[in-house]
């Protein structure tokens, strides 16, 4: 029996109106990989932030090696051997790898020495890094390495990983798992937060399940099925989407050699992207983030106009039209960034509903807003998509990520688009809500619309797409039927395997 590393005893954290954590207790053993499972808003993030010293608990205490442990700030936690890799990386794009690592260390050695150490440690754990490269030039997987190496350089005893695989290719996930297993064999405990149940099943030794801020169950993942763990997590069964017959109709969206230079210095320009999206079709576009996904969405939504002929909607050239005209014609888009792009953070839900649906839902008359009609539409979204919010007067910012995402998708779906483009529709959304969103998108296609799903979640794409393409370095592979493709094949295409891409 290994020794107990961290014991959490009755931790509680209350926010106005919410119990983020309620009397949470569990223990983490040395050298074990411990999973923390739960839906969005179950209190996982708050809990690990307390362990890392970013948030202070209102009640309860913690023991590290049997001694009282209550860090007041992250640097204290780091000094005591607790490191954390964030879901949203705490990295600085305009700084290089070494500078980013220095910022996360208490007493960094001189630069030359540090650079050597970075190379040594990163190679030792199979995560090679060049200390002098700018973060902005790195892929998402490489950025995560920087975070991990930053923690490793401080010889942690406990490494907290918050949703580490949500943006990785399958190959990168394998590398990460190897690294984590090596660490655990060296005695480092890992607290692994995820809602990807298959991963937890293959990786973790123990799991603690949180729901509504409380520990509802514990289990040994290897002895459970993904489904049984999901049920512990959400406290009930959730509907898996049904298999749908795919009979494509006429072409609705036609891209012809769509080329668009990226305005973001770290972005990727689109080069000769061509595709035909037909009525009733759900097309999945896979690819590692930063390969032109944002640019593709901007070109389709109309935020970045192109040559008129590059984008055609039902045969009409719309490439040079703005978003409002495109919306009127039936091409709708839901971008990835929920706060600030898909929704205005400080405006209420009803105002946000109005912003996107004004034209299609006829929410104005002679230049005046029809308030009643607008509110009805906002309410319809909230009801049909099970958006959990006290009222439609609440600011978009006040909703949890998953709820806001349901609102954003619902808002577009209910406008009955001809073509709907979504980027990362279920990013950071819990399993039940994600299933609802996918179901809604498929239903939309079943009713005759065409849906383009840009996502980095391969399982999601495989589950919902009829056809499948990969966006790599701004180029789109030829779409193929999704049936019969293996995740490995796609992973190789995404990771930039040239041979595969040439064949694709």
């Amino acid at each position: 029996m290994r020794k107990t590393l961290l014991e959490i005893r009755g931790l509680s954290k209350f926010y106005p109106g919410v119990k983020a954590n309620d009397n949470v207790s569990f223990t983490i053993q040395e050298g074990k990989i411990h999973a923390l499972l739960g839906e969005n808003g179950a209190g996982k993030s708050t809990l690990v932030k307390m362990i890392y010293g970013l948030v202070h608990p209102d009640e309860g205490d913690m023991l590290l090696h049997g001694e009282h442990y209550m860090p007041h700030k992250p640097s204290e936690a780091r000094n005591l051997g607790v490191g954390m890799v964030f879901q949203h990386f705490s990295l600085f794009e305009a700084l290089n790898v070494a500078e980013n690592i220095i910022l996360g260390m208490e007493d960094a050695p001189p630069r030359a020495e540090l650079n050597e150490k970075i190379i040594e440690v990163s190679n030792q754990y199979g995560l090679p890094l060049d200390p002098n490269r700018l973060i902005g030039d790195l892929s998402v997987g490489e950025r995560q390495r920087v975070e991990i190496v930053r923690c490793l350089l401080q010889n942690p005893q406990l490494l907290i990983m918050d949703e580490p695989t949500s943006v990785l290719t399958p190959q990168e996930v394998e590398i990460l798992f190897k690294t984590l297993r090596k660490l655990s064999s060296e005695g480092v405990a890992i607290l692994y937060i995820s809602h990807k149940l298959d991963e937890i099943k293959v990786l973790c030794d123990h799991a603690t399940v949180l729901r509504m801020g409380k520990v509802v169950d514990t289990c040994i993942p290897a002895e459970e099925t993904a489904r049984s763990m999901a049920e512990m997590m959400i406290g009930g069964e959730f509907a898996m989407p049904t298999v749908r017959e795919f009979t494509p109709g006429k072409t609705l969206l036609h891209l012809e050699n769509l080329t668009l230079e990226s305005l973001d210095p770290f972005g990727t320009s689109l080069a000769n992207v061509s595709l035909e999206l037909r009525s009733g079709e759900v097309m999945g576009v896979a690819g590692v983030a930063g390969n032109g996904q944002d640019e593709l969405l901007l070109a389709l939504s109309g935020e970045r106009p192109t040559d008129a002929g590059m984008v055609k909607l039902s045969g009409v050239e719309i490439g040079d039209m703005g978003p409002t005209t495109r919306r009127a014609l039936g091409l709708l888009a839901a971008p990835e960034e929920r706060l600030g792009h898909a929704a205005a953070p400080d405006m209420s839900l009803k105002e946000n509903a109005y912003l996107s649906a004004r034209v299609r839902q006829g929410l104005t008359k002679s230049g005046f807003t029809l308030f009643g009609k607008r509110d009805d539409f906002a309410r319809e979204i909230v009801e049909q998509f099970d958006v959990r919010t006290p009222s439609i007067d609440n600011a978009a910012r006040s909703l949890s990520g998953g709820n806001l995402q349901k609102f954003v998708i619902g808002r577009e779906v209910l406008q009955k688009p001809t073509v709907l483009v979504v980027n990362q529709p279920t990013w950071g959304v819990d399993a039940a809500a994600a299933a609802d969103i996918r179901e809604a998108l498929r239903e939309l296609a079943a009713e005759g619309a065409a849906v383009l799903v840009i996502s980095q979640d391969l399982d999601e794409l495989m589950e919902m797409s009829d056809t499948f393409a990969v966006l790599a370095e701004g180029r789109l592979s030829k779409p193929r039927p999704a049936a019969g493709m293996t995740v490995e094949q796609i992973g190789l295409m995404m990771g930039g395997n040239l041979e595969e891409r040439a064949n694709a």
């Binding site: 010293g53 992250p74 990386f89 600085f92 305009a94 700084l95 220095i102 910022l103 973001d264 210095p265």
Partner: protein, 310 residues
Amino acid sequence: MDFSALNPVSLMVSLMIAATPVLLAAVGELVVEKSGVLNLGVEGMMIIGAIAGFAISVETSNPWIGMLAAMVAGAVLALIFGFITQFLLSNQVATGLALTLFGLGMAALLGQSYTGMKPPSTPHLDIPVLSDLPVVGPILFSHDPMIYMSIALVAGVWYFLNRTRGGLILRAVGENHDAAHSLGYNVVMIRMGAIAFGGACAGLGGAYLSLVRVPQWTEGMTAGAGWIALAIVVFASWKPWRLILGAYLFGGVTILQLNLQALGIGISAAYLSMTPYLITIIVMVIMSADRRRASINAPASLGRIFNASH
């Protein structure tokens, strides 16, 4: 027209004097912007510095105490801006503009009884022997200490930003304040420090104007120098050394314009007075034409409100 009346050496010397107030204010603002804060109140802080420095120098008959007072006054005004934007989370652009208007009005009020007075003179630092060299002597080795200090300050800021841990943290805060916060850095206090430094530099720049360059107190005497300082920070694409280039270019055009007026060129003085500002706009348009390059150097969190609660 007799261009031989233009003596290149004395032109060079007066160019440096004209450029120094702008350079001082710009180097302060550069640090502020590197920390992710956009303080448009430079003009207001400069003029408060100008009157505070002038008044205290007159009262104490010591220009150095006056300059110190100008730095304190500029920093205090900046901290008001800091409190409103960092703690009360107000909009930085609006608050900065208000600060400028407030500073101009406040300075006019404080300065009423000082109009037309003569401040104590600031001694020159003539470096023996070297300052007697022809051409090079007057240009490089015979200035008031503040000119050397302004250059040293630029060098110091460059060293701080690029070679020290403190500078790295400051840049990190300006680049991504959420990430800096999650690593445990106190974003608000780091920014308050930068804002105070920026205010002190702007105040010193203002005092240089009223004590050395003019030297006299006149209402509204900064005449847009604070705005030029802001422009020069962008012109320099947030790189300290380029501030010198920008400030001296601006100073050069100002001086040339004054001399051309003195020569009696047949162009209206109004047009000539416009040229430094015009040149600044033109240069900035050229500089920012290449969006990719400019946006890499710009601090990514510039002007964004930081709210630690999420």
